[in-house]
């Protein structure tokens, strides 16, 4: 396996057990974490609602040439446009697929229109539907109930949307199937040495995405001795994570609240790069050649 990292670091607890696992997250190098936790054909969620997007982890997945992934994310953003263009994905599950504040995701559009570099299926929801699918997954329930989709055309195209009748009132409501990714990856500001992870600012759906997953990885700006409490922070205990990897700047060019702002020039520049396969391929080479 060319993409396996020869590591003295002991291997992470095996697949499929994280969801029912206790202990502490192992702090490992990012390449090892991706090698051991992300497999071809997996359903993978890299979450972070425009803030704290795990770009470093996504780029490592590109470098390790994972294929046939089902990519799950409310807002695919640049990171999934890049992974789709790199040929990692065969399916995309999402609710809003644009370049925020800039325009379209051209690699996603190209894959949908022409199948380049690989055919891409889509499973499309609303934000409320996706959020509730993660909530159901995190709660160990097979579905969630919401007021949504009624009168829209989405249910005609998405088979993870159905309905249920309230046993008390007889009212019909929307039902969405639970999301339980094989692996969820999030980026956070910091972790302690036991692998407890702390993130703050706009906390999005990261807690639900991690708790819904069979395996999980958090990349962090830094590992600290103690997690000083921060107002509004979400803490993910190390025992619900498989691995933590330090990745300073790992959310760039998106935001990491308290560490750096979004590099908007990179978001604008992506529009031109992603419009053109040649330009994209040149960009891809720089990622593949870069060390994690």
């Amino acid at each position: 396996m060319p993409d396996r990292v020869p590591g003295e670091v002991p291997s992470i607890a095996g697949p499929g057990r994280a969801h029912y696992r206790s202990g502490v997250a192992k702090i490992v190098p990012l390449p090892q974490a991706v090698t051991e936790l992300v497999h071809d054909g997996d359903t993978v969620a890299l979450e972070g609602f425009t803030h704290l997007i795990p770009f470093a982890a996504g780029h490592e997945i590109i470098r390790q040439r994972r294929r046939g992934l089902t990519l799950v994310r409310m807002t695919p953003d640049l990171i999934y446009d890049q992974m789709i263009g790199a040929g990692c994905a065969s399916r995309l599950v999402f609710s809003w697929g644009g370049n925020p504040g800039v325009g379209s995701l051209h690699r996603m559009r190209d894959a949908l229109a022409t199948g380049w570099p690989a055919p891409l299926e889509i499973e499309e929801h609303s934000h409320a539907g996706m959020a509730n699918r993660y909530v159901a997954g995190a709660s160990g329930l097979p579905f969630a109930v919401l007021r949504g989709y009624s009168g829209t055309d989405l249910p005609n195209h998405t088979d993870t949307i159905s309905s249920v009748v309230c046993p008390f009132t007889g009212e019909r409501l929307a039902a969405v199937a639970a999301l339980n990714p094989d692996v969820t990856i999030v980026h956070a500001q910091r972790a302690d040495r036991d692998g407890n992870v702390q993130l703050w600012g706009i906390t999005g759906v990261q807690k639900e995405a991690v708790l819904a997953a069979r395996r999980s990885l958090a990349t962090v700006e830094e590992v600290v001795d103690e997690l000083t409490p921060v107002p509004g922070a979400v803490v993910l205990p190390g025992w619900v994570l498989d691995a933590v990897a330090t990745a300073p700047g790992g959310a760039a060019p998106s935001y990491a609240h308290g560490y750096y702002d979004r590099d908007n020039s990179a978001y604008r520049a992506w529009d031109a790069i992603s419009r053109d396969r040649e330009a994209f391929t040149r960009w891809l080479r720089t990622i593949e050649e870069a060390a994690a």
């Binding site: 425009t50 803030h51 499309e124 934000h127 909530v135 009624s150 999005g204 807690k207 935001y255």
Partner: protein
């Protein structure tokens, strides 16, 4: 309901302004102080923050990223902008913002935009053409369908172009008045739906009997012919057609003074 025609600050009319500026100012005029407003990035965010700086300092701005009662000094660059969290009363998770705050009908006004809107106020942000073979693939739903379903009323802000104002949308991403009178009730949608579509040419409102969007207000200098030319259905003109008062200098200066995070230019 608040009008869009009269200035909310200042009396002296400005000399010149752009159609987009008139649109944002008209949209800002439509908001009342103290309302809770669910806002999307772009035109809605500009209009809502303008209103907060003019006549509605207690406007409660809510973004789908979970920022409740946020008061950004500059316009957010994206829905994930840190300024939304730093200036918020509190930040909640994305599931919570949709389930506890939007879904129960606590929000007075939902502010939407779109690529297509039809004569019954239905909005398309998904695809132009067929879903499986789209001519143009658009971003998709985001928070819009539930904003359109659950806010007490919806205000749409979008540029008035023939390709956007269509007889029937290619894809119903967010329900306006559905197939017509009574349809929202049948669909179990508890909000009133679009009460006003504010464009760079004027304002359209649903006819109380047919729910079809009717031109009720023209911005200064715009003609009914322009509106007809840019509307993809034979648009009805209200008998009591109103002309929007031009931006006041106070309104225009406030709008032009607004900056977007990290940029020098106005939004």
């Amino acid at each position: 309901m608040t009008g869009t025609a009269e200035p909310v600050a200042g009396t002296r009319a400005a000399a010149n302004w752009t159609a987009d500026e008139m649109m944002s100012i008209a949209a800002a005029r439509a908001l009342r102080d103290g309302q809770a407003c669910f806002v999307g990035i772009g035109l809605p965010s500009t209009a809502a923050n303008l209103a907060r700086r003019l006549h509605a300092p207690r406007l409660v701005l809510i973004y789908e990223s979970g920022t409740l009662a946020t008061t950004p000094e500059e316009l957010p660059l994206s829905i994930g902008d840190g300024i939304l969290a730093d200036s918020a009363l509190t930040v909640v998770s994305v599931p919570e913002i949709f389930n506890y705050w939007l879904q129960p009908g606590r929000i007075d006004v939902g502010f939407l935009s779109g690529a297509q809107i039809d004569r019954l106020g239905n909005i398309n942000t998904t695809v132009i053409g067929e879903y499986d073979e789209p001519a143009v693939r658009l971003p998709g739903s985001g928070g819009a369908p539930e904003i359109a379903a659950s806010c007490r009323e919806v205000i749409v802000v979008m540029r008035h172009r023939r390709r956007a104002f269509v007889d029937q949308v290619d894809f119903v991403t967010s329900v306006g008045h559905g197939s017509g009178p009574g349809d929202r009730e049948l669909l179990g949608l508890r909000g009133a739906g679009p009460v006003r579509v504010i464009t760079d040419l004027g304002v359209l409102e649903p006819d109380p009997d047919t729910t079809e969007l009717v031109l009720t207000t023209l911005h200064p200098g715009v003609t009914v012919e322009q509106v007809r030319a840019e509307t993809g259905w034979p648009v009805q003109i209200a008998a009591d057609l109103v002309i929007t008062a031009p931006p006041s200098t106070a309104e225009l200066e406030t709008l032009r003074a607004m900056r977007t995070v990290g940029s020098k230019g106005s939004s």
